[in-house]
Amino acid sequence: MATQTYIPLATTTLTANTSTLTFQSIPQSYRDLVLIVSGQGSSDSSLTFRANGDTGANYSWMQMSGDGSSVSGGSRSPDNKDTEAIIGIIDGSAVGNAIVNFQDYSITIKFTNALGRGNDSNSGVRMSIGSYFNTGAITSIELRGNFGTGMILSLYGIEA
């Protein structure tokens, strides 16, 4: 029996520049979340996340980027964790987007991974995986970056 899913949970259009915003009270009735970020930032930055208000060094990430002339990348390995995880890119001089898949965010036997892809017409393309090294279900996601006025952020739930 097929089940309709990819359910819109929230969307917002920014009316001012900001460096953080948070999706709170995320329902636990889904298995994955999809975040779509679209628009131009106030300046160049990475798009990162923190879960459940956790500011500790409990995040790891790996990213790879291409800008039309070279390939670059970086990571914070599980042996050298970060206080946030990179999941995309924000461009301050061109419209771009990021699509991020938080997988098994509500499952308490696994760490949560966020597969992210960022695209924009100025600085190129980036793929990334950010991981939250905690098995607690994610109930809030704080997004961090140089978000610009007019950017649209939408969150969807996917059952499994």
């Binding site: 899913t5 259009t13 709170q24 990348g73």
Partner: protein, 193 residues
């Protein structure tokens, strides 16, 4: 900016939307298994594309912090597949890599976390799209996006191919070096077109 609770949906109007993305089946392994299969997919021909969302771990205990997850279509074990991959990892610093496997016996998707890496709670993530799954005039193409943060961390994009036009009736996923671990999850979705 202040946090905002969920439920602030933008007002919208216009054309009435039709649901186009449906959950079809999910397998979560209760114990280790050599493979995970979805069969009888001819029941889903009302959909145009299929997607599989995966959180998986391999029991590979040595040699690498990851294990490649592979896919076979319609139980075809012949050398009828090919794939390419674009990958970044942090083996001794960042590396950008490109791979190809011509004439393989499966599509190599991307690597997932292996037991040889650290915590048992650490799984690899993959999203696999099978385009025009039920067309009978096209060879089958697959795209994958996945990675892990375990041992040598890795992120990659993959493109797979089966040199056969028959509609997809079954999918078999398996880790090439060891069993797939209990707790691994494979969810199949249908996308209308």
């Amino acid at each position: 900016m202040s946090p905002f609770p969920l439920g602030i949906l933008a007002a919208s109007g216009g054309v009435e939307a039709v649901a186009a993305y449906d959950l079809l089946e999910t397998t979560t392994l209760a114990s280790d298994a050599s493979s995970v299969s979805f069969n009888g997919l001819q029941a889903y021909t009302e959909y145009k594309h299929l997607q599989v969302r995966i959180q998986a771990r391999s029991r590979r205990a040595s040699g690498s912090s990851g294990d490649t997850l592979a896919l076979r279509i319609n139980n075809d074990t012949g050398n009828n597949y090919a794939n390419h991959a674009l990958r970044g990892d942090d083996f001794g610093g960042f590396r950008g890599l490109s791979f190809s496997v011509p004439n393989g016996d499966s599509i190599r998707l991307e690597t997932v976390t292996a037991d040889n890496a650290e915590a048992n709670e650490n799984y690899g993530s993959l999203i696999v799209d099978l385009l025009d799954s039920f067309e009978n005039s096209k060879n089958k193409t697959v795209r994958s996006f996945g990675g892990r943060n375990a041992g040598i961390s890795l992120i990659g994009l993959g493109s797979g191919f089966r040199n056969n036009t028959e509609p997809i009736t079954s999918l078999e996923f398996f880790a090439i070096s060891a069993n797939t671990a209990a707790g691994s999850k494979f969810s199949l979705y249908g996308i209308k077109g």
